[in-house]
């Protein structure tokens, strides 16, 4: 495959390098002359020291016979124009754009860019996946550290909803002592019925947490299941 990479930053550089190692034919466009010659020293004379947004230079780089054009500069508007020029003017079958602002994804897709890679979106997704949504929140360690102050947010599916503490099998060494409902904290009595959206505050031994979790949140389900 002949791959035209536009943008000689870190992404473009490593992309070109990997592609060459995999046996592909590669041309890399980088408008900064110093950066271009630096890359050429590293990976050979596949570098074109011109602006890949300029129609003339795209043509000279062989854009019309490229199988893939990958626009990986740091500027979304440049990547969009490179892909659009490649697609509509040079009939490149496959265009790939790096998108920095996730809000631009819909526009790029709509305007005919074949594939979008959004580092921002990927990192965002990765972070959100790691935030436990159905977990106990540890507020503080008490005493010598053998006790913990815990908050449990009761969401749909919690076995505690509609029940009172006396109906639950609260592990020994744990006390449910308060409930926060609509921003108001009230003592949690043995007969107080818990509702969805309640935040239950408990104190318990560290080793009781799994049992407490089962009672207040539900059977342990991993976040990515």
């Amino acid at each position: 495959m002949f791959v035209l990479v536009v943008g000689g930053g870190k992404v473009g550089y490593y992309l070109a390098k990997e592609l060459i190692e995999s046996g592909h034919e590669v041309a890399l466009m980088e408008k900064d002359a110093a950066r271009a010659s630096h890359i050429a020293d590293e990976i050979g004379s596949i570098v074109i020291a011109h602006d890949g947004c300029e129609g003339k230079y795209l043509g000279e780089a062989g854009c019309n016979r490229a199988d893939v054009v990958a626009a990986v500069t740091g500027d979304d508007e440049d990547n969009l124009v490179i892909c659009q020029m490649a697609k509509h003017h040079f009939d490149v079958p496959r265009t790939i754009a790096r998108v920095n602002n996730p809000k631009n994804e819909a526009l790029f897709r709509h305007l005919g860019v074949d594939e979008l890679i959004s580092p921002t979106r990927m990192i965002l997704g990765s972070i959100e996946q790691d935030i436990p949504v159905h977990e106990l929140l540890h507020l503080a360690a008490l005493g010598e550290g053998e006790l913990e102050l815990i908050e449990a947010h009761l969401q749909a599916g919690s076995p505690a909803i509609g029940r009172a503490p006396r109906d639950l099998s609260i592990p020994e060494g744990c006390t449910l002592f308060a409930v926060i409902r609509d921003g108001v904290a009230t003592p949690l009595r043995p007969d107080t019925v818990m509702l969805e959206g309640d935040k239950v505050i408990a104190i318990g031994k560290t080793e009781c947490q799994d049992l407490l979790h089962d009672q207040l949140i539900g059977e342990t389900v991993s976040a990515d299941a």
Partner: protein, 178 residues
């Protein structure tokens, strides 16, 4: 008319001032506040600092439903993107992108955006003064094709999540030196 101008350089500032004086509702954006020094003190429109290729910024500036959007920054691609956003996402009526690369100016006119190319305009202004034949380079090109936005529904938000595409397994082809 509601006229949005992206880029408050010499052309942008002059356009903003003249449309303002003609009684139009003018919103001018630039990423640098210093650029607004080019506007006369009598300017009665809105001058807003921000990136005209950012949909949120354009919305906040009140660009939605503009009758006209002129993209006149120094960056051809920024101008392209601002006008495409205006058509696709903001429901702008008519747009013009300043594109100084003649090839890109022609390509985007074919893609449905009016473009104005300084290169051709200046050259042909000089040629007509000198009595020489015209250059054949584009000046102001009206859209010759339909922009995607005219042919399709406005794109739906929010966009689907992007998945990493797997790179196809490489075929062993000798690397050609360019």
């Amino acid at each position: 008319m509601k006229i949005v101008i992206v880029g408050c350089g010499r052309v942008g500032a002059s356009a903003a001032d003249s449309y303002d004086r003609a009684g139009h509702e003018v919103i001018v954006l630039d990423s640098s506040t210093a650029a607004f020094d080019r506007l006369p003190s009598t300017f009665g429109g809105k001058a807003i600092r921000g990136d005209g290729t950012d949909e949120d910024v354009l919305r906040r500036a009140g660009a939605e439903g503009a009758d006209v959007l002129l993209a006149l920054t120094e960056g051809d691609n920024r101008n392209v993107m601002a006008t495409q956003l205006a058509i696709e996402a903001l429901g702008a009526g008519r747009v013009i992108a300043k594109i100084n690369d003649p090839l890109r100016a022609e390509a985007y006119a074919e893609l449905g955006i009016a473009t104005v190319c300084r290169t051709g305009l200046i050259l042909d202004a000089m040629n007509s003064y000198l009595g020489l034949p015209l250059s054949g380079l584009p000046g102001l090109l009206p859209p010759s094709g339909l922009h995607d936005g005219a042919a399709h529904q406005r794109f739906a938000a929010p966009p689907p999540a992007v998945k990493a595409e797997s790179v196809p397994s490489p075929r062993p082809i000798a690397t050609r030196e360019v």
